[in-house]
């Protein structure tokens, strides 16, 4: 995955976004690639990536539990977290993002394991189809997965099959909907769309008063 420098106009007006420090730690980057490659081999995964020092290994949903256990036994015994991403891109709130042509609506479930003797750590990632968000539970593998899976279940509507106690964790029992799904609208943003617009957009072009000036003017007005 590479970022395209062409669609960053701000780089022209004095900002040096990417060029100043091409890679803060190229040693780290290669270390991430090494661990990702090693874990991919251990768990029998076909693809991996190590962009931005973040090692990710992609496994099939059918082999999820098996792969996580293999990575654990392969020297990553620390269960850091488990969560999900909604890749439907149906953004109801905030700023819309460009949908690529090969848009595939899906959920990504990821679990991060790390070593406790060195810096190696990896994200194990698997994809769930939009219409069937179910996956086997990791609770027998890692006791700590219980709360993380309950959180992912209520926030994304993912079913973890075999989970001993899959009830709501944060939300009240009567709560309807899955708040971290992109289709779940944030009520505050429905009422008032984007309160940040004024101070975010107003500054660089100096067409309107900047927030600093507004504050200063208000203070001067108060003194009179």
């Amino acid at each position: 995955m590479t970022d395209s420098p062409s669609d960053r106009p701000e780089a022209a007006d004095g900002g040096t976004a990417r060029e100043t420090a091409p890679d803060a730690g190229s040693a780290n980057a290669s270390a991430a690639a090494e661990i990702a490659g090693r874990v991919a081999e251990q768990v029998g995964a076909t693809s991996w990536s190590a962009d931005y020092d973040t090692a990710k290994v992609y496994v099939d949903r059918d082999r999820w539990v098996e792969a996580v256990a293999a990575a654990r036994d392969g020297g990553l015994p620390f269960f850091s977290w488990l969560s999900a991403i909604d890749w439907s891109r149906q953004v109801e709130v905030g700023e819309s993002v460009a949908a690529p042509d090969d848009l595939e609506e899906r959920y990504e479930v990821m679990c991060r394991l790390s070593s406790v003797t060195d810096a190696s750590a990896v994200h194990l990632v698997t994809s769930l189809p939009k219409d069937d968000p179910t996956i086997a539970t990791l609770v027998p593998t890692f006791g700590g997965a219980e709360w993380h899976e309950r959180e992912a279940a209520e926030m994304f509507g993912i079913t973890f099959e075999g989970h001993p106690h899959l009830v709501k964790l944060y939300l009240p029992d009567a709560f309807e909907g899955n708040p971290l799904r992109k289709s779940f609208a944030l009520l505050a943003r429905e009422v008032k769309p984007w309160p940040g617009t004024v101070d975010v957009e107003g500054m660089p072009g100096a067409t309107g008063p900047s927030t600093e000036n507004v504050e200063a003017a208000a203070m001067e007005g108060g003194e009179e």
């Binding site: 420090a21 973040t54 620390f78 850091s80 977290w81 700023e95 810096a119």
Partner: protein, 398 residues
Amino acid sequence: MTTRLDPTVAMHLSDAAVSVELETPEMTLNIGPQHPSTHGVLRLVAKVDGERVDSVEPVIGYMHRGYEKLAEVRTYAQITALINRIDWVSGFCNEVPFVIAVERLMGIEAPERAQYIRLILAEMTRISSHLLFMSSYPLELGAPTPLMYALREREHVMDLIEGVTGGRFHPNFNRVGGVKPAAGGGSSTKKVVQDLPSGFFDGTRRAMDRVDLVCDELDTLVTGNELFRARTVGVGIIPPDKALAYGVSGPNLRASGVGFDLRKHEHILPYDDIEFEIPVGRNGDCFDRFVVRLQEIRQATRIVRQAVDRIPAGPLQAKVPRILKVPQGQCYVRAENPKGEMGYFVVSEGGRIPYRVKIRSASFSNLSILPWILAGQLIPDLVAIMGSLDFVLGDVDR
């Protein structure tokens, strides 16, 4: 013909009768959400048999503010203000991994001076967080005196943090590409900029000396105390394999004998230039968790002293575009917070706001071991064990 029971048998029989009569039914005991030992709003539903706890179900979410959702409708600069409030006793430390994740995505590196300021304030925050634990934990076990000593010195550290950032609990001091200059300090990209208040270095050295002294006082007051030892030694043992499986991190993990500290492994702040040791416990009980934190304060003062001596001059911020647009990418950065591993998984699809931010907070995982560790314990130990985990409900619920 009369049968006479042997007297000892008769005694045993009467004992048996009494024990049958006193057999206690299983009772459900609700603790919290408003209870002093729960450090906020945590509710425990405990099934107890007499004094013994059979099982515990923690009920959380009373502090859930939905930061992961709120982060999806805010610019990166606005999120820094938000995440201050996750673990409110170590607000500064919460900001660091997030801004570094954004910096990595944008290919920016903060100038060295800014990194040193981050390091000094992060360690001061660690001291302040651990001193709060030093005061609250003996208090929960019935010893109110250490609170006075620990909070007195904590105030000096808080004053220093406030002097630099302007905030006691919520500094909001980190910026993508560096740190905020002092008020009226001028452009943050100048060669030399007014950043730290005058007298900061001397004040810091004095405060560190006082913190070291209070550590000695706490050592004699608490760790040597017979009653404190009776309540904590051998209580609430977390074996290392359980700690790893539940994602228990930070001092709680190190008390169980796993000497893992992200400051030594993640090169996000210049800890490589600084000499310090990682205190490791042996038994993983409440006492070890207390001692590890006490030793960590001593190491933190050592780190701050070295950092204050070494801090280089220079600008406070790298060149950063005025509107932060982060290129597409996914980056996870973790840091050793006072409570454990704090990490942010920032997913950007381009633009001014993140597509998703996963917040990995230490207390959430540290607390998730509670049902396992409390099963079979006595009710009085319940408070001792919960307190020793040093969680903050804001860090659990996010």
